[in-house]
Assembly symmetry: D2
Homo-oligomer: 416 residues x 4
């Protein structure tokens, strides 16, 4: 908040509403100030927000001539909102760096495992073979989607300056003879000083920036949650196809190495949708300052930034440390004794006989394979009407366009 | 779903996997078909989704040679997801048209009331004067934000085609000697046939399109909810500054004209955040087809489209019929006997004395005005130390840059 | 809604405000009426709710003398709210029956598998052995919790009758000389006629019944979702410890048997928390009839009842058909070559040496077992300082109080 | 968490698994310990929860013979969950006290204003008269509902003790020859020592207590939100029927007294539904310890307790300070020049002519009154067919059973 107050004095000086000496005075007072947070919190209760207390403390540290220009023309919400945008900007820079790290790491994994066959699973069951490269390319794809959404929001975080009800009336009253573009100029200088974007209108109850932040953060948490959810499945003891390089110890069981990073990411992905719901609901903000919707944003946005930042950092660590076990992927492909190739068996027949007849043969053979615990290939031989076919028996021979799709997906870059 | 199945046969024919005669056969069968919806629903329970039943009905209506190419290489999710995108595309076209209507209507209102003074309210209390033009320009601004977000999503709705686990393995098995770009070509033709965008990867468990839809719809509901919430406040009996042109009758009270459109919009804005939360949470979709997250999207997305579509249409009607009462706006400005100009009184003094002293004088005068039921101007005269000032007594003289901000905001056009 | 209107006429007759002949007239008109739903929906738009249209249709079917008593003293919300409670009551009866079925089925499973050892899994990893009986008893426990919560809500669903703003003023005006308890008597007769509970106050904007419904339904969906989530894990191809008796077929893969019931239950459990959030948020209903919060309840409650009812029914089918594979449970216990007993190894040592030293030995042995692919027992022999112990090697020998806990849990009955 | 660890040692001593000297040693070590919170947080990242770090610190402060019994037989989740319940218990005691204060204060207000007429508002419009006593009795009713729900949850907060996977296997291994009820006895002593209820089963993934807490807290926030929302409406400058005794100052506008307490309560009521949604969704917790759902509870529950506690305290202050303005209530009743009595006019006629004709007359008169700016009574005289009636002209004469309903509602006491 102090950054916003200092930037305001600087902007007032640039447009001629404050002496340039005030800038240094206020900035150095802001540097000196040390808040007693719990005292601030108590004083904030009576005004409903902490800005009046912060302003009072800043004024108390500043010589009067300069102090009179502190908060000049502003309202509490100008400072709170601007401060929220500054916090968001700083957090999102870190999130973008972590997402870039995730994207690069997943690209390397996808390339390395472009042709590593593994089980494709649908509704928890073995379906048909895929490659781990395709899976990793998919993870990269949603991480890139998150990166692009965060970058768009990050570029457009606006400063807030509108005065009591968004008209900048007090600013104009301080300079009644100034040209009519004084307001716009002041807002522009203020925004640029802070490295934030210049808003078209004061947005005290036009809460697009907050709703957009919520949506981008929830998307990011969800995208990373997809990756983590897959890692949790693949690192189950019975599956064992990947594991986190550095697992978490257990206080009760000496042998355990828990997928702690994935767990923390999934925990985040379960909270962000609800937090984003609070933030987008805050769009419905009546009047020129809302009673409740605005106040509901504060802690929610902070938690949303914190959790998503933590999840992005955990995801970077997860990708860095991920250990892949192609041997387990291979052996799991054989668990169903060929049933994972039942679709191929069907297509193979369907190119030589009516589809319905082909389907019946493969259905019967599949059931027989399960009930008699024999391989699908053997079962096909026992089913009436099944011609001897050219059925593939190596899952690596039924990977479709997995490698080509991986290559195409890896060409995509961040939208910038 | 039939559109998706027909488009698939067409795409198969274009890339040489089906005879061109199949296209017409399947299309005309699709035209003929009449579903028994409750029967479909019952058959859908056993497979967990309605596609197998739809495919069976379509095959039953088609000659075998052509029927064998129905659903060839596809999985149920390919058809469901594509159908969801088609439904979304059709709905969003209507939403965009309604939002354009809202934006245009609000521009006209903002222009007409560029200089109409009214009370600016913060935390439910009279704060300082604003203009109705500025308020309407703000409404237009969030409606434009919604329009831009919907348009981005609408342009990128992708078709879905990946086969059993996203590798298009069956497609490749049908044409083992085809070039390696067959898969990509098939997906491109299929997508273009449907007027949807071509996905980089099959997105069976990369649910960006769904999460984005949820976010854009929730934003839209919230943006319209902001407008409606303001209308509800302004049309309260005691305030009476606007009313819906055609109000709703009451079954019990003959005289009532209820703000029905605003009410329906607000009702939508209270549901969409939660629905969008379900949709963004569905990003966390494990494996190559998720058990639950995917299925949770179906009804949720339908309701989200339906409700937001309804709200956009109601908002168009609301803007069309809105009746504005500048006289009530004017008389409400006088309710506080000048206290609405207390900020001006303060600034006026602060240009001539230290800010702190000025603040004390105006605080004292404000309290006196309230306790003695006199005007602020009169009270100022009674307060010790108050110099005779040039305090504005007409609220229309303290509008700050409201008109200039309105002009700037109206320059903004849809991002296209 | 017709049931509510008829009950109102009956109640009016009982307290002497309508002739008794009106009851039969209106009831038979209600029986005759056939609504055109889409016409009703269109007419509902102009009034903001469907009651005026329903009342008009009912009046049109009734002779005037009796028709004059239709809706007498009531407001639209009286009828809508009462109708919602009737719909809820009918749905909850079905839900309770299904939950009773689930509870009984799980009790039988828990008893049958009281001593069936299986892997206990924490954070996706094998932890220590448990029994399937204990797991099933836990499932039963949350199903009972759901049953108890639904039963409480079901018993207290109130009728609604308050007139225009909750004072029953019109009722009193129709009988100005009646005793002052006429209002309470009318509400009591009306409620009892409908089989609903009698409210203390009209609850037009005191929405406890709706919030409670939302909470109980979301709890139920979550409780059933816990069971389904476990079934999904245990029925993974690699784990195979249970499967749904009747699996869902796949349109692409002939061999698949998908856990469709669990999937549908999980899908519900992902929607209900958000729907309940809408309903509890509707508590914040301003005035004597709220603009938006009330209207947001309608579709939300209907979907919540529908989805939870479907999930309860699916859960009954899931429990009926569940196939348990003790052999797979047993063989999975051996997958870690004894590491699942590392806690026991530690406790065994800790009773004979300082805990810290014991922990070091077991940690070292566990690491050695993993790196050398030998059993924990063998590894213990190789670790320096490890005394030869009495370590259990059969997982069934380290089940703690699983059986006793199961017995205790099964004693609990529905709270009724 | 230290309380839980100490209670565990005490319980172990009571059942004979630890020497009684250990109790004092561990308790005094716990008293001495001073955590470095940020160091704890960092150490917690590697294990995924803070318990191992806390246990290590506690052990380091304790002589070895006693230290060996710290955390004996427990797992991290036993301590985390128990600690959450202790935090909840302490917070809920405060919440109940504040709710009792709110309930008592509202009873006094309702009694004092049992016969104070005011406008009943529906869909933002004047409807018919009510009393402020009835409104306050309604507020008390939902506050009591909240009080009852919190009390139920508060009484049943359970301790958690199940060991690694809920079987208490380690406990049994420490005492292999102990009777089979040792586990149950240990849990009972542990729970009673902590003042928590004794669970039937370990609830590591049977999360009923958490879901119930979420529901009760969200209900409370919503109930208080209803009261606050009404206060916000009634304290609008144009309405002015109540105001918060001590309003919040504004940093920009000297005259303002903002309804700060109501605003903070409404802000809470907008967050709790989403937080409760996270908590009830955590019911879907797979396995014997879930990867994500459990971890998502921690911050969410803390925020939910904190916010609701703050709202309850603010509500107590709101009720204490509430200033009621019967004069403004009275003058607002006259704003519509009698239209607020249109329902009475209708009923008055309907007792003497067919309902439909009566309705037409009052509709016409109402329209005439609005268009000609005359009173309803005058307008009635001008409408054709209107008999001269006994229409009430004093709103205080059309209050229905408001006073009787208030009396009945005030009889209700907390369910205890």
């Amino acid at each position: 908040m102090l950054d916003a107050e200092v930037a305001l004095v600087r902007a007032l000086a640039v447009v001629g509403l404050a002496p340039s000496s005030a800038v240094g005075d206020v900035a150095s007072a802001a540097d000196r100030i040390r808040f007693d947070i719990s005292d601030l919190a108590l004083r904030a209760r009576s005004t409903g927000n902490p800005v009046p207390a912060v302003v009072a403390d800043l004024i108390a540290q500043t010589a009067q001539a300069s102090a009179d220009h502190i908060h000049q023309g502003a309202t509490s919400q100008d400072i709170m909102d601007t401060a929220m945008m500054l916090v968001a900007a700083r957090t999102l820079d870190l999130v973008i760096a972590d997402l870039d790290h995730v994207v690069a790491g997943l690209a390397a994994i996808a390339r390395a495992h472009r042709d590593t066959p593994m089980v494709g699973r649908t509704l928890t069951q073995h379906a048909v073979p895929i490659t781990f490269g395709l899976k990793a390319a998919g993870w990269r794809s949603v991480a890139l989607d998150a990166r692009d959404r965060i970058a768009v929001v990050c570029r457009s975080l606006p400063a807030q300056l509108g005065g009591a009800a968004g008209t900048l009336a007090a600013v104009r009253a301080y300079a009644p003879t100034a040209p009519t573009d004084l307001g716009a100029r002041l807002v522009t200088v203020y925004s640029e000083t802070l490295g934030l974007s210049t808003p078209t209108l004061p947005w005290h109850t036009l809460r697009t920036p907050i709703a957009d932040l919520g949506a981008a953060l929830a998307f990011t948490a969800g995208a990373l949650g997809k990756i983590a959810a897959d890692v949790l499945v693949l690192s189950r003891t019975e599956i064992g196809e990947v594991n986190e390089g550095v697992g978490g110890g257990s206080s009760a069981m000496p042998h355990k190495a828990n997928p702690v990073l994935s767990t923390m990411i999934v925990a985040t992905s379960r909270q962000l949708p609800a937090l984003a719901a609070i933030l987008v609901a805050a769009l419905v903000a009546e009047d020129e300052r809302a009673s409740g919707p605005w106040h509901a944003e504060w802690q929610t946005l902070r938690e949303a930034l914190r959790l998503t930042g933590g999840a992005a950092h955990a995801a970077a660590g997860l990708v860095d440390g991920l250990v892949v076990h192609p041997d387990r992927m291979r052996s799991n492909l054989d668990l169903t004794h060929g049933l994972i190739l039942s679709e191929h068996a069907y297509v193979d027949l369907a190119t030589r006989m009516p589809a319905k007849a082909a389907r019946t043969i493969v259905d019967d053979a599949s059931k027989l394979a399960v009930s008699s615990q024999i391989s699908l290939k053997e079962a096909m031989r026992s089913v009436e009407g099944a011609p001897s076919g050219s059925m593939v028996t190596d899952p690596a021979g039924y990977l479709g366009f997995a490698a080509e799709l991986t290559d195409i997906a890896l060409e995509r870059q961040a939208a910038q």
